[in-house]
Structure formats: structure tokens, C-alpha cells
């Protein structure tokens, strides 16, 4: 099934693997392919505005590229919106102290903040204003708690509005046609390890389908068959003398850097093998190349989107 045909994608991954960039480029790609897309930064750390070069985002979404809307999650605003939609309260008079009260409950009571986040995202799917909602979700450590919150609340709360609300949320979240989780990893030891663990937890503890694993920053293979042996011969004194004569005194570091690149590629290939071996073969793996680029903004996000398009067969 086509990844971008789902309605709600949660993007997670260990810190530092490029989760936000992947979320932004998936959203950008979807928008470029004609889908009305909403991308939401759940942590609101400001990484999303920087990879999309949008300037600050708020709870109220804003069109930042043609067909691409961006917002930042704010649980208090989410609560406000929820109450306004569901309770028809005289909001302006009551909500000041009420919101503070809820804020307090949200700090302490389990799942309140999580449900306001997931609820808002699921609501956008239900409302149908967008073809696709992409959530730049919390890192691996927190995402299970977030995705499991509606279920947990559903078990704790037997009656009332929340109960009805969590029921339709669960319908959306548990439907693999509409909802999927994407884990971003890099071919390094800890990210691979966490990805394998998270994939198992997602299956055991949540109702959300694991849609894909994106392997980010894959280094290029430097040498083809037999070429590594050729490279080794460049190191002997006679060859170095020829190289130095032709290319100047900087040859040493150039060969050193090639050795580093080969070793890095080899170590990473071993981690990739682990990943392939230990996750369900039914989960698609998408590979994105390491970007040897200067910029971090929209330009490199577009490059990642192009690479994703190629991986998805567009």
C-alpha cells in the first residue's frame, strides 16, 4: 500500500536521526503530489520551522508551501478548541481559570496531554480538511505512551464525553488503511537497537500499524568489486610518490579520508544487516542517502523529499 495514501502518519525515531527532516520531506512530497497536507510539530522545539524555513508555527495552521500547511501542537489550545466544539460553553467568561485547572490536571493526570495531542490530529483526519496529516511525533522514548493514551483513557473512563471521543479516535488509529507509524533510524548501533525495540513495543502495546522504517544517512559504497584491492596498492611508497608528483603534497589525508569512509560504510552495513534481520520483513525499509550538503534548510529537505520519491517509486 502506498505510504502517502494513508491519512495520518506519525514519524518517530531516536533523537538525532533526522526525524523532523523526514517528517517535513514526507509532507512536502505529498503536497507536491497534489495532496492537501498538514504537518504538525508535536514537541514544538522549533526544528520543523527551521527545516521548512517557515518562521514560527502556531496551533493555527498556516500554508507554508503550496498545499502544505504547518502547525505546532499546543495542548492548551487543543483543549480550548475541544471544549468550544463539544460543550458550547460561554467560553470567554469561563475558560481562563478553567484552562489553568485543566493545565494542572494535565500535568498530573495520566494521558491528558497525550490525548489532547493525538485527539487533535485524529480530529483533523475525521474532519477531512486534509488528505494527509503528518505528525512529527515525540522521540522513541515517548511515542508509545502517546499512541497508547486513547486506549488507556478508554479503559479508565467508562462513561462521558471522553469515552465517546476516544472510541472514534481508536477507530482511526487502529485502521492501517488510514493510520501508520514511521520509524526513522540511521545505520548506527543505538538507533538500530532502539528501532528494533520500538517496533516490538508498537506491536505489543499499541493498535497503530508500523507503516515503514526510514533508514536515513546511508553512506555511499566507495568501491565496487575488486576496487578495494586496487585502493590498497595506492598506499605503497612507489604509488604515493607518483600521486604526490601528480596531485601535490596533500595526497596523504585524501587516502586517509577514503579509508575512514570505507570503515564507516562497513560498520554501518553491519548495523543495517541487524535491522533487516530483526524487524518484521513485511515492514518496508526506505533508504535515504547521507547528504553531503552545506545547508540544513528547505534546500536539503527538498533533497530528502526527492530521495524519498525515488524510494517510493514515484
Amino acid at each position: 500500500m502506498d505510504l502517502l495514501d494513508r491519512k495520518l502518519l506519525f514519524i518517530t525515531g531516536k533523537g538525532g536521526v533526522g526525524k523532523t527532516t523526514v517528517a517535513a520531506s514526507l509532507a512536502l512530497l505529498a503536497a507536491e503530489r497534489g495532496k492537501r497536507t498538514l504537518v504538525c510539530e508535536v514537541d514544538a522545539k522549533g526544528d520543523l520551522p527551521s527545516v521548512l524555513e517557515t518562521g514560527p508555527t502556531t496551533f493555527k495552521e498556516r500554508e507554508v508551501q503550496p498545499g502544505l500547511f504547518a502547525m505546532a501542537m499546543d495542548t492548551e489550545e487543543s483543549l480550548r478548541e475541544y471544549l468550544a466544539l463539544n460543550l458550547k460553553l460561554p467560553l470567554m467568561t469561563r475558560l481562563g481559570p478553567l484552562a489553568r485547572m485543566f493545565e494542572f490536571v494535565a500535568t498530573a493526570a495520566p494521558g491528558v496531554r497525550e490525548i489532547l495531542t493525538v485527539g487533535k490530529l485524529a480530529y483533523e483526519v475525521r474532519r477531512g480538511h486534509y488528505d494527509l496529516v503528518v505528525a512529527d511525533a515525540p522521540a522513541t522514548g515517548h511515542v508509545v505512551g502517546q499512541l497508547a493514551a486513547p486506549q488507556a483513557i478508554n479503559e479508565l473512563v467508562r462513561v462521558g464525553l471522553i469515552r465517546q471521543q476516544t472510541s472514534w479516535m481508536l477507530d482511526i488509529l487502529s485502521d492501517p488503511v488510514r493510520t501508520g507509524l514511521v520509524i526513522v533510524a540511521t545505520p548506527e548501533e543505538m538507533p538500530v537497537h532502539e528501532t528494533v525495540e520500538l517496533a516490538a513495543r508498537i506491536k505489543a502495546e499499541t493498535i497503530v500499524d508500523l507503516a515503514a522504517i526510514v533508514v536515513n544517512r546511508v553512506l555511499p559504497e566507495l568501491f565496487g568489486r575488486g576496487e578495494e584491492a586496487v585502493f590498497e596498492t595506492l598506499d605503497d611508497p612507489a604509488s604515493v610518490a607518483v600521486l604526490t608528483d601528480a596531485a601535490g603534497p596533500g595526497v596523504g589525508p585524501v587516502l586517509e579520508a577514503a579509508r575512514l569512509a570505507v570503515t564507516l560504510r562497513r560498520t554501518r552495513a553491519a548495523h543495517l544487516d541487524t535491522l533487516r534481520r530483526e524487524v518484521d520483513p513485511a515492514v518496508p525499509l526506505l533508504y535515504l542517502p547521507y547528504l553531503f550538503a552545506r545547508s540544513h534548510g528547505l534546500r536539503s529537505t527538498r533533497q530528502v523529499a526527492d530521495a524519498l520519491a525515488a524510494e517510493l517509486g514515484y
Binding site: P110, V157, E189, T233, A257
Partner: protein, 390 residues
Amino acid sequence: MASSLEQLLAAKEIVVSCGSGGVGKTTTAAALAAMAAMRHGGKVLVLTVDPARRLADALGVGAIGNEAVRVPSRSFPVVDGRRPRGELWAAMLDTKASWDDLVTRHAPDKRTARRILDNALYENITGRFVQSHEYIAVERLYDLHSDGRFDLIVVDTPPSRDALDFLAAPERMADFFSSRFLRLLTAPYRSSVAGFASKPFFTVADRVLGSQFLHDITEFFSLFQTMAPGFVERAKAVGRLLRDNRTTYVVVSTLEASPLHEAGFLVDSLRGKGFHLGAVVLNKVLPAYLLDEQAGTAAATMARDAEAIAGRLAATGAGDAAQVTRVLTEVGESFLRFQVVAQREAEHRAELGVASDVVAAVPYFETDIADMAGLLRLGEQLWGPQERTG
């Protein structure tokens, strides 16, 4: 004023390793603790909040739990016949066990403790309530520090949304217990008459949450509140320890834009709020030779003139000319690609400026750290008196 991590670790009792996720906080903490045990002596504890089995393997202790275990001295490589001068211990934060422990200690009696531990919401609070992790981490640190068993504790910080969460955790916990809202929320459970001020809240909450859940919540908080006096006092003491002169912070980052941005923010916040910034550690720094101008020229020449150079190399018996051409092109271009990244990193580093008196840069290790020898190799890079550029 310490001018190296060696001096810093010799003078402090608690070292907190902080920074955004994936930058090597846990490994840095372990390497620093291993070095301190090796060189300074005394009893050194590395307390990790990250359930990293790999670290347990590297330390040679099998499994690490809430209770500190001694790292056997046979795990240390013998260098020049030298054995570690001190002892290295390791512990891993078990959130659930630590919370249970805390409740048992602060509940007014055993029966109340039992009722809290059995409450359905309690499990949710300790397991899912995200910030409970930050609080319990510093609480555990306080516990281990105050029992006086260790001369030095090196701790990493939980992977949080905000790297500063753990610093604010004790204060938030104290605020929580002394909050007017907690009193309001628990009022109808204590007396059957709901206070006037809380009425609109309950009207709304009742419709939203349902009265049974609301009842569960108020019961839980009423029970929880019985622990308030002990808890508040404790949280304040924990907060004081974080600001104590004996505690220092090591900000860890890589030279990528996002972690570095976070590190800059962390440095400013620590300074602004009066915490002791001990050092900045930059991990996975690409080798300095990538910035070498002559090397850049050589790489460009090798890629451009690959065919001609391959012809000249044929005399040295380098093999098939077409293959040599491809290898030379690839080697030259590869260097230039990495050079772009190295330049970007150098610029990022300049932007960070002189954040701290001590800045340690650790080169990109080509292989993973799998044992104590690896940790000490990393430790050596961190230890030195002068700034290194990899």
C-alpha cells in the same frame, strides 16, 4: 576554575551529562566515570537513566539495575601494568521501583502506601506520565549522593522533550503538591461540599470525563496528597543539590545544527539560572585533516586527472587502468564530499563560540565502543588539558 575535565572531575561530587538525544550522553558519562575510577581513585558511580544493555556489556557487568553494582576490575584493560586506582560502580534508573520506594517512604502509613500503589492511576502516573521520569531521576541521584557511599557520581539525563526538564522537575513537584488546584480538586472528596470556586470546573469535568473517572482522580490525588509534607521538603532538597557547588554540568553535543542549537540553549539556560557549567563536549567530530587545503587540491586533482594519473601509476603495477581511474575518481570525490561536511561543522562550531572554559572535542570513532578499553579510549580524548580538534 577547572581547565580540563580531569580537574573538573577531581573537584566535583556530581557530574550531570546533558544534551539532546543521540549525541552520546550516556557513553560520555560512562567514559568520564571510568577515567575517574582509573586515575583519581575513590568510589565512582555511573548512574544511567537510559536502559542501554550495550553499556552493561561494555562495563562487563551483565545487567545493571536500580541497585549499584561494582564493575569488576578485570573489566579494565591493564595498561603499563596499571590497575584502576579506585572502584567503578554502575546503576540504572528503574522508574517504577524508584517511585514505589518513594511512596513507601513518604506515605503516612502502610495502608495508605498500599492504596496508592494499588490505584490504577498510580501505575499510569509512574509508567506513562512523562515528567515523572525526570523527577525520579534527580530524586534517585539525591538518594545515592546523600547516602555517602560514593565520592563521585556521573549521571546522564533522560531523553526529554526539553533538555532542561530535569532541572525544573523538583520545583514542579513541590509546586504540584502545594498547588491551590490540588486542594480544590481533592476538596469534594474530603468534604462532601464542593467549594464555590471549583464548581465550574467540576461541572465541565463531570461532563467531559464522567463522574466515575473524576471520582478515581480525586481519590488518587487525595491519597497522593497525604505524602505532601515529606515530598515537598524532599523536592526542595533535591532542587538545592542540583544547584550546589559540588554539582557540575557537562553539555554534550555533536556538530550538527539541531543538537548544537539545543546545546547553545542549554549553556545559556544553565548560566542564566545559576547552575555550574563545567564543560562542553563535542562528539563525533570529523578529522581536522578534512579541512586541509593541500588535501582539497590533491583530491580535486585526483578526481579531475584520474585517467592521466592512472596511466602513470601503471608503471608501479597498480593494475587495470580503467579500475584505477575509477578508484582515483571515487577517492578524490569522496574526500571533497566529506570536506563539505567538515567545513559545515567548523562553521557551526565557530557559531557556538567559547561556550565554556573547557571544550573537549572527540573524534569520530570508526568502530563502536564495545568494552572498557573502548570507553577508556574515549575517556583519554576527554581528559586532556588542552582543547583538541580531533
